[in-house]
């Protein structure tokens, strides 16, 4: 097993908040990994998982806002959060760059999430000690 200090994780989230438990389970895992002294190399949102990066979620006040909780975690631990560009454009998740490029009426990506290609996933896969996937369940 690798030295604790050098253990890194890439987390891939493919399930959307409120449709699936994937973002919640991933956050529990990420928090425990950080608590154990490990590093989260990056979080990659794919497929329906890109909805986690929305700045416009407004769940009832007695429910957790998972987009907000995740952005807070990313900011607190300086972890890059990347939404796959192809998944994001199909599903209506855009930053200001893409808003301009496609002449859309608004941008809705929540900082510090960024938009990039699958190459980010491939790089995480290669560099991290472990890559874990958090899919929608049933």
């Amino acid at each position: 097993m690798a030295e604790t200090a050098s253990v890194t994780f890439t987390l891939v989230i493919t399930g959307a908040p409120y449709s699936s438990q994937a973002p919640q389970t991933a956050l529990g895992f990420a928090q425990a990994a950080v608590d154990a002294g490990h590093r989260i190399d990056r979080v990659f949102l794919y497929g329906d998982g890109v909805h986690l990066a929305s700045a416009l979620c407004a769940p009832p006040s007695d429910e957790t806002n998972w987009s907000e909780a995740w952005s807070q975690f990313l900011a607190d631990h300086s972890v890059p959060g990347v939404a796959c560009i192809a998944s994001a454009l199909r599903r209506g998740l855009v930053n200001e760059t893409e808003q301009k490029r496609y002449e859309l009426p608004a941008a809705n990506l929540r900082a510090p999430f960024e938009i990039a290609g699958l190459g980010e996933w491939v790089e995480g896969r290669i560099k991290s000690t472990r890559t874990l996937y958090f899919h929608a369940g049933d």
Partner: protein, 116 residues
């Protein structure tokens, strides 16, 4: 014009079950008769002693206990699915009626729907 709302997905992993409940409550609020039918892995909604605080959700048990207050006519559960998941009188929440979820049951309702 009675409606049967079916729930076949287990609790917590997806939101469709909660949204099915909202459909039933909404019908009742507009004085439209509504019942709930739990089948397949959906019967796990009906287990006693759910503690969902650890996953940052509200217990669906609490949601369901509001059903009679909202005016839901019946909470039905498929007998064979309950057997599959080890649910019996001792482990089911109160107010559940066991039924055989078959073609005959459906004929009692004008409208049958899933939330997703």
């Amino acid at each position: 014009m009675s409606t049967l709302i079916m729930i076949d997905q287990p609790p917590y992993g997806a939101w469709t079950g909660r949204e099915a409940l909202d459909m039933a409550f909404s019908l009742a609020a507009f004085d439209q008769p509504a019942s709930l039918l739990f089948t397949g892995a959906g019967v796990n909604w009906l287990r006693q002693a759910q503690e969902a605080g650890g996953i940052g959700q509200k217990s669906v048990e609490k949601n369901l206990s509001a059903a009679p207050i909202f005016g839901i006519e019946a909470i039905l559960a498929d007998r064979s699915a309950c057997n599959t998941y080890g649910l019996d009188e001792n482990s089911l929440i109160e107010g559940v009626t066991l039924v055989d979820a078959d073609a005959v049951l459906l004929t009692n309702y004008d409208h049958t729907a899933f939330a997703g």
